[in-house]
Amino acid sequence: MTAIDTQRAFRSGAAAVDPVLEIKNLSVDYGYDEDPTHVLRQVSLTLNRGEVLGLAGESGCGKSTLAYAATRLLPPPGLITGGEVIFTDRDGQSTDILTLSDADLRATRWQDLAIVFQGAMNSLNPVYRIGRQIADGISAHLPGVTKKEALERAAGMLELVGISADRLRDYPHQLSGGMRQRVMIAMALALDPQVLIMDEPTTALDVVMQRQIVEQIAELRDRLGFSVIFITHDVSLLIEIADRIAIMYAGEIVEDASAQDMYRRPRHPYSDALLHSFPPLRGPRRELTGIPGSPPDMSNLPTGCPYRDRCAHVFDACAAITPELVAPLVEGDDPRRSVACLRHDPAAVTAAGFEPQPVPVELSVR
């Protein structure tokens, strides 16, 4: 057994301490015809209890699809073609969300796993008062609760996110965008869920409101102890709030590491490039660079590594082998992090008959 194999075995053995949501080999296609587009290919991701996991990547890389697929809310023509989404309850009981019956699925929704969507403007039903919209989720899952109690609880949730309870009788159009997003967060937390998926919750808001919402989520997480999957294309925001960051590219996760590791020691050329396309909030000034080219056409993916056309460290093996997530080939790295780049996977390169290339200096910062 080579050192790399040992490292691999170690990684798969060192499964997360206390996973609450495990996405395993999830694949999603768009289109029912003979030639569907594979938007998610064998994506695996683990969310630990109490953790804030950031999911970042360019537009169209499959971040939102991952969130919708994991909750079975994927609109047509999306189709889940394989994989498992294991949810583990507080008492250690595991269920696969993808195989639940419709009735069981409805019962677990919101109570175990709640979502806050992108469009703060359109997430609330325009013809119902917000109190009623928070309360109907409560009554649907707790049949014993009276309407009055549900409304009282809704009032409490509003106060939790900093909106006064007398707003309960307002309609969505009477609230500002930031308030609507807070109402959504209050609604999502109404049943004390264990997992909160936030799909670009701050995209439609101005930066001041973004900051307030993000701080509020962090504060509520500390108080209530739920886990968060925070989806955004704003990596600098993630570094601020996430414990761990996963970077997606063309329907795959290319790197998964703790937030600090990702920020200071990116191992994948794409993560590195992505970090250099945002001004850092703190620290020394860095030169900003964009990423040349554009993401590949998902319906017509090239062979091998999907990032190779834009990569500065491409070599001959990249066109032939599709990289898989392995531990990075840098001495002293956290064994739990992983990266999908052939520069870090000489075993796969050798096995296919190519000459392995060393890890570039930029991708082995320590």
Partner: protein, 325 residues
């Protein structure tokens, strides 16, 4: 409050304009009812009798247009719409006995058509892409067929060939109109076929409109949120999707109620149903201006009332249209 004041002023101006136009149109039209009557009787009316007729219909007085207009308003405010030339009875009485038939038959048919069409449209829109989509071309076919033809086919099939329903009329003429079960049953029996044809020819519009709105609304974020909240499928479909999709339907429904009174001419002619359309048709044939004016006036007010109903319904159903303060 300002909202209502504005609406009331708007309706008052519209009503005034409608009444004024109603006053001028018959006076602009060529021809004169007495000449028409004389022509109809082929010279059997002497010039003296013609003079008497003119006096009877108030056409002899040498009034200015303004005086006529003022007199018209005075009579109108007293509920006096003049005397019908062809029926020799006050117009108000003619309309009063015709209107309930039209409103009863066509109103019920429209409500049935709207309710059924909207419900079916909700189902088709919610489960689009299933066999239920096949209902759309079928119903669209019936609404594309000219109405008079559909009605004639229905008469020839169900009353002439099968003999299930009477071909014309509104109740059994051997009966005395009273509020007895027998009479009501007869009215329903006679009204069934005309109502059926109205429902069949108009349901496609409601189905199609509701289905398309359902498809649009189903992809709204708040519907996905409702699903994510784990609400019952029925609650999501009715409370979130259909509740929003029905808004444009409601305003076209209120407007279609307005057209009940005027829009049923063909049905009432084909089925010889003595509603307002039937009288309007015979009034036009007989150049019976007072009756024509009366019918137009009723139609105008029906449309105005329906518009008001639409305003109110929209305000109740959509909080965004209510104006605070």
């Amino acid at each position: 409050m300002r909202f209502f004041t504005r609406r009331i002023v708007f309706y008052a101006i519209t009503a005034w304009a409608a009444i004024t136009i109603n006053f001028f149109i018959p006076r602009i039209m060529p021809g004169d009812p007495v000449s028409a009557l004389i022509a109809k009787n082929q010279g059997r009316i002497s010039p003296d009798a013609a003079e008497a007729l003119r006096a009877l219909f108030g056409l002899d007085e040498d009034m200015s247009l303004w005086e006529q207009y003022v007199a018209y308003w005075k009579l109108l405010l007293q509920g006096d719409l003049g005397i019908s030339f062809s029926y020799m009875a006050p117009v108000a009485d003619v309309i009063r006995q015709a209107l309930p038939w039209t409103i009863g038959l066509v109103g019920v048919a429209t409500i049935i058509s709207f309710t059924l069409g909207t419900l079916i449209g909700t189902g088709i829109g919610w489960r689009r892409g299933t066999w239920m989509d096949g209902l759309l071309p079928l119903s669209t076919f019936f609404s594309a067929v000219p109405y008079f033809w559909l009605a004639l086919i229905a008469i020839s099939l169900f009353s002439v060939t099968l003999g299930w329903f009477p071909a014309s009329g509104s109740y059994d003429r051997s009966m005395v109109p009273t509020l007895s079960w027998e009479f009501v049953g007869s009215v329903i029996y006679y009204g069934f076929l005309p109502a059926m044809t109205i429902v069949v020819s108009s349901i496609a519009g409601w189905m199609l409109g509701m289905r398309n709105m359902m498809v649009t609304v189903s992809s709204e974020d708040y519907v996905t949120v409702a699903q994510a909240k784990g609400l019952k499928e029925r609650t999501v479909m009715m409370g979130y999707a259909a509740r929003n999709a029905i808004l444009p339907q409601v305003s076209s429904f209120a407007l279609s109620l307005g057209f009940i009174v005027g829009g049923t001419l063909v049905m009432e002619i084909v089925f010889s149903y003595q509603g307002i359309g039937y009288y309007l048709f015979s009034a036009v044939n007989a150049k019976d201006y007072p009756l024509m004016q009366g019918c137009f006036l009723v139609i105008t007010f029906a449309v105005l009332l329906a518009n008001m109903a639409a305003d109110v319904a929209y305000g109740v159903l959509d909080p965004r249209t209510r104006q605070e303060g």
